[in-house]
């Protein structure tokens, strides 16, 4: 572990400036991901800018939207009455992630920006384009049981590991960020990127940008929801595949749908085409099977993750059935 400086600004501006001034400075929130990465020698920031003193913990409901501060803890959000009432899908996804102890430390911003769990990213003795651009992707022809089936490139086939982000991708969320140039809003689905030629870049955030809030609008599809996660043990494991499903129905006809998958791509994988195909269809297993077929178009597996081609559609149907109340 490198020697590093540590500051704990109380003003947002100071925090952002600290990052602008030092190209090797990094924000730290709960530290549950960043410290691991530092201990493994994957990242070595010269300066840690602890943002925990910034007033970014608030959870409120205003202007028909739920607004959650970036520093709200995963466990607080999962248990929050407003969240449970307005956006139960988010609470479900949060509770499916990590462990009680970790959720007590992990923040919303940190969860969104957590890095991949690809074993080659974690072993600094091995090539990894995400860690060391140009060194090669070891997973491509290596152990790729956990890896992507959508949207990968020949530079990187890692997946984004967050559960919460899968729910956020489905819920038409906007992220409020502040940077040296001021504040801006980003659609959550535009925040994470596909690897392309720059797998080292996880997101579209620019240097020094700080996540302030996430905004989840009230929608007609916020109550018929289900987050389904399949993992290697009953709890405390990253998703093999997960699905966030949200539906609005009228007289058994689907009027709106939102769907996202986790564990399948470099970013939470929103299924817009599939959503469109569901609108106007009756709630039925058949409808959902057809949707699953559409969802899986273009999926391609590697040596060890072909099971995802079957698991993903299976649980997509199951999540939709549960959301619709016909499971």
């Amino acid at each position: 572990m490198n020697q590093f400086q540590y500051v704990q600004p109380t003003k947002q501006k100071a925090a952002i400036e600290a990052l602008v001034k030092n190209a090797n400075a990094q924000f730290i929130a709960g530290g549950t991901n960043l410290l691991d990465l530092m201990k493994h020698g994957i990242v070595a920031p010269e300066k840690l800018v602890d943002i925990n003193k910034l007033p970014l913990k608030k959870i409120s409901h205003e202007n028909s939207s739920l607004r959650i501060g970036a520093l709200a803890l995963n466990s607080e959000v999962a248990d929050n009455k407003l969240v449970l009432a307005k956006q139960p899908l988010l609470a479900q996804a949060l509770n499916a992630g990590a462990s009680g102890q970790l959720r007590n430390m992990a923040t919303m911003g940190g969860n969104i920006l957590q890095r991949t769990r690809c074993p080659y990213f974690y072993d600094i003795a091995l090539p990894c384009n995400k860690r060391e651009p140009g060194s090669g992707c070891s997973a491509l022809a290596g152990f790729n049981r956990m890896h992507a089936i959508f949207g990968y490139s020949d530079k990187c086939i890692a997946v984004h590991p967050s559960d919460m982000s899968v729910a956020l991708a489905a819920l038409d969320v906007t992220v409020v960020v502040a940077g040296p140039q001021g504040e801006r809003q980003i659609l959550f689905t535009d925040l994470h990127r596909l690897p392309g030629d720059q797998p080292e870049k996880d997101t579209t955030l620019t240097r020094g940008e700080l996540i302030l809030d996430i905004i989840i609008p009230d929608t007609p599809f916020a109550q018929q929801v289900h987050y389904l996660k399949v993992r290697d043990r009953a709890s405390y494991a990253f998703a093999l595949v997960s699905v966030a499903a949200a539906l609005a129905t009228q007289n058994n006809i689907i009027t709106a749908a939102r769907l996202a998958m986790g564990g399948v791509a470099h970013k939470p994988w929103r299924l817009s085409e599939t959503e469109k195909s569901l609108v106007g269809k009756p709630v039925s297993e058949k409808t959902f099977q057809e949707a699953a077929e559409i969802a899986m178009r273009g999926a391609q597996a590697f040596t060890h993750n072909a099971y995802k081609l079957k698991l993903a559609p299976n649980i997509l149907v199951e999540a939709l059935k549960t959301a619709a109340g016909i499971a």
Binding site: M1, S138, G142, E318
Partner: protein
């Protein structure tokens, strides 16, 4: 057969763990927690290639880092005298040579220590370690067992030893397989698994003088470690002290002296300060052994009514290129069932990895997984209930040695387990039981683990205040050794357990074997028993020979003992206490040391523990997820010393078995020869949510032959067969036979 003692309700009668309070209040001191003045911290630099040469090791930058005390490698190691001098032209070690730490520039496996960095703080040592630059000349490596299976060979150490039990074994006419009315044949695979105790391996090495070494080490074998280091550094044995008073689990990983222990010892020698080294979790995968990956082929023939006519069992496991780790993989197949014709073959493949070692239930757990899976497959082929099939082939005596069992209650285990489980509710067809959307499966398997016993010594010292200190250089990796020994001593001396203090975990104590192979109660327990018995006899002698004694000249045969008091059986009022005897004889204390050894009984009997596991699983057909819903386990392990700790052992074994069956796998990327699941996010041990209600029962076995205590040992058998019972239940639920563990969702979907 059962006594009230074995009622689950009476569990509260069991003595609480004598060290429980210390452990849960954080007062128990584990190896890395000793506070020594001037202690320095060591961090290993490990090889990133699986085979080759270190061509350059540049530590200049590291040596300039703040707080750095030394960087030690083959370039400047103070040397281990037993290795001899470093050769000018290094040669690869001949088979049977433990890794010679920092001896030469050869790399035998990825993750091998190539340097150790010592600094005044852990953080500084870690940082400096990241600055050490190592250059290698790579050689092609082989780490893939399946790809190298053609090199499988009878281990050289077996070839040299005509008494080895791992030789090719044929009983009767194994070719009878070809003419069997019903025959099944299948290949089963288990991956490499790692013990991963919660407490990582750690030690403090302290040279108290140039020829005096003290180690605070996480080891299961205190005397073995002492002897090993004394030989390595050519020191008189009494100059090496080893301490391991508390151990946070080991499961076999602490069974020998590993390279990191030598590295820390060399570092301490170099910097002339006590040096602490604790392995980070990722190094636990390359430093302290593993259960070997094993491929097993089982063929079983039977008559139509389910009598076994032939079994063949071939096992191929991996080992390193410098040592042969052999284990009992095929041995259970020779004795678990009455079968006239049996063939076993055991082979190893040398790979460029670190040496595997024993892991809970070593050998048996691997072999019985395959055998008990195959028996289950046969039951379906025959359309006979799997439990009934086992009963029809029960081995009433040991079919390999042709000896009677010293005791065996396998049939009782089957009966009791089946009854508590409700086995009769099982329907024969796979995929025939359901609950809601889940496929329900019932599975069972037998378990067995041979009884082993070693020489052991114990000392018992009665003090003037009536307290008795009992000592032996054994260790306690978790089963509750101190508690069991306290109970044995108290029962033998007829005093309250509260008056006993049992000391373990120090090499200065009387000789004891390592805590391995479920031998501790049978070996050390026997020594404690005979020592306490001898102490009691001495007291009886004094009671009838001291002129002032109320029992002077009494006939010992007329005397009884209770509550630390010797009295006339016919007239209990005439009595004398242990402490009064000391006082009357002006003795500050009374001490005996005794040794207990196995004897001729081993020629007359075959000795083994047996048991049975019953498991219910639910399988989600949509996701492929398996959940173990309940387990009933029953074992006949001789005398159960402490029901509470025994149940804990059984439960722990089942949990380990769930991991083996469903979650645990160390995956190596053979292109690099490196594990790619080397952390707890990727190496999945069961979490609480994976562990259901487990009911553990015992059959009260009275075995006068095994050893003075009458206990067979329980730690190992608790896990043997569990993975088969689960895999069998998964088949019953789904109709899918997964023959390569672990049974993860991707294999069932």
């Amino acid at each position: 057969m059962e006594k009230a003692f074995f009622d689950q309700d009476n569990i509260n009668d069991s003595l609480d763990r004598v060290d429980g309070r210390l452990k849960v209040t954080g007062k128990a001191t584990y190896a890395a927690e000793y506070q020594l003045p001037n202690i320095a911290h060591a961090v290993l630099v490990t090889s990133t290639i699986a085979k080759g040469l270190i061509t350059a090791l540049d530590s200049k930058q590291a040596e300039r880092a703040p707080g750095i005390l030394a960087v030690i490698s083959h370039v400047n190691s103070p040397g281990v005298p037993a290795y001899g001098s470093s050769p000018a032209m290094p040669e690869r070690a001949t088979l049977g040579t433990p890794l010679r730490v920092f001896h030469d520039n050869l790399v035998y496996f990825s993750g091998q220590p190539v340097a150790v960095v010592v600094a005044d703080t852990l953080q500084r040592a870690k940082y400096a370690a990241s600055l050490v630059k190592v250059q290698y000349e790579k050689e092609p490596h082989q780490t893939d067992l399946e790809a190298n299976i053609s090199r499988a060979a009878l281990p050289a150490n077996v070839q040299r030893d005509k008494n080895s039990r791992y030789h090719d074994y044929d009983r009767g006419n194994p070719e009878a397989l070809n003419t069997a009315a019903v025959k099944i044949e299948a290949t089963y695979k288990i991956p490499t698994e790692h013990h991963n105790p919660l407490e990582p391996h750690a030690l403090i090495a302290h040279w108290e003088a140039p020829d005096k070494l003290t180690l605070y080490d996480k080891t299961q074998v205190i005397k073995g470690t002492q002897g090993n280091l004394a030989r390595a550094f050519k020191l008189p044995i009494e100059n090496v002290k080893v301490q391991a008073k508390f151990i946070g689990g080991a499961f076999g990983s602490g069974i020998r002296v590993w390279p990191h222990v030598m590295a820390a010892t060399l570092a301490a020698k170099k910097v002339q300060r006590p040096v602490k080294l604790a392995l980070p979790r990722e190094l636990m995968f390359n430093s302290v052994g593993s259960r070997p990956e094993t491929i097993q082929k089982l063929s079983i023939g039977a008559t139509k009514d389910g009598r076994l006519t032939a079994i063949t069992h071939e096992a191929i496991a991996h080992t390193s290129t410098y040592e042969e780790h052999t284990e009992r993989t095929v041995l259970a197949t020779r004795v678990l069932y009455a079968c006239p014709n049996v063939r076993t073959r055991y082979r190893l493949v040398n790979l460029d990895v670190n040496t595997p070692t024993w892991m809970r239930g070593p050998g048996e757990v691997t072999g019985v997984y395959a055998l008990e899976s195959a028996i289950d497959e046969l039951a379906y082929a025959l359309r006979i209930d799997p439990l009934e099939l086992r009963l029809r082939n029960h081995a009433d005596s040991d079919p390999e040695k042709n000896l009677p069992w010293s005791s065996k209650s396998l049939k009782e285990c089957y009966a009791k387990g089946a009854e508590h489980f409700g086995w009769h509710k099982r329907t024969l067809e796979p995929r025939s039981m359901r609950q809601g959307q889940f496929l329900v499966g019932y599975g069972m398997a037998s378990s067995m683990f041979g009884v082993h016993r070693n020489n052991a010594k114990a000392r018992a010292v009665l003090q003037a205040d009536g307290k008795v200190i009992v000592q032996s250089a054994t260790s306690d990796i978790g089963p509750g050794t101190g508690t069991a020994m306290t109970q044995i001593a108290a029962d033998t001396l007829n005093i309250s357990p509260a008056l006993i203090r049992f000391d373990l975990g120090e090499s200065t104590l009387p000789d004891a074997p390592g805590q391995t192979g479920s031998t501790t109660v049978s070996s050390v327990g026997s020594a404690v028993k005979v020592a306490c018995e001898a102490l009691k006899q001495k007291l009886l002698q004094l009671a009838v020979t001291s002129p002032h004694s109320t029992l002077y000249n009494a006939n010992p045969a007329d005397l009884s003992v209770a509550d630390g008091r010797i009295f006339k059986t016919q007239n209990p009022a005439v009595s004398i206490t242990y402490t009064e005897i000391l006082k009357q004889n002006n003795l500050p204390q009374l001490e005996v040391t005794e040794e207990s050894k196995p004897g001729a009984e081993w020629q007359k009997y075959s000795m083994s523990a047996f048991g049975a596991h019953f498991v219910e699983v639910h399988v989600n057909p949509i996701t492929g997820e398996v959940r173990v819903k309940r387990v009933v386990t029953c074992a006949g392990v001789g005398k159960v010393i402490n029901l509470k700790t025994a149940r804990s052992q059984s439960i722990g074994g089942i949990v380990g078995g769930i991991g083996m069956a469903l979650t645990e796998e160390s995956v190596m990327d053979h292109r690099f020869g490196r594990y790619v699941t080397a952390d707890f996010a990727n190496y999945h041990v069961p979490v609480h949510a994976d562990v259901p209600q487990i009911d553990a029962f015992f059959i009260d076995e009275h075995d006068p032959h095994v050893n003075p205590v009458g206990a067979k040992g329980l730690g190992e058998i608790a896990i043997v067969g569990v993975s088969a019972a689960i895999a069998n239940a998964v088949f019953h639920a789904t109709g899918k036979r997964i023959r390569n563990l672990p049974i993860t969702p991707d294999k069932l979907i």
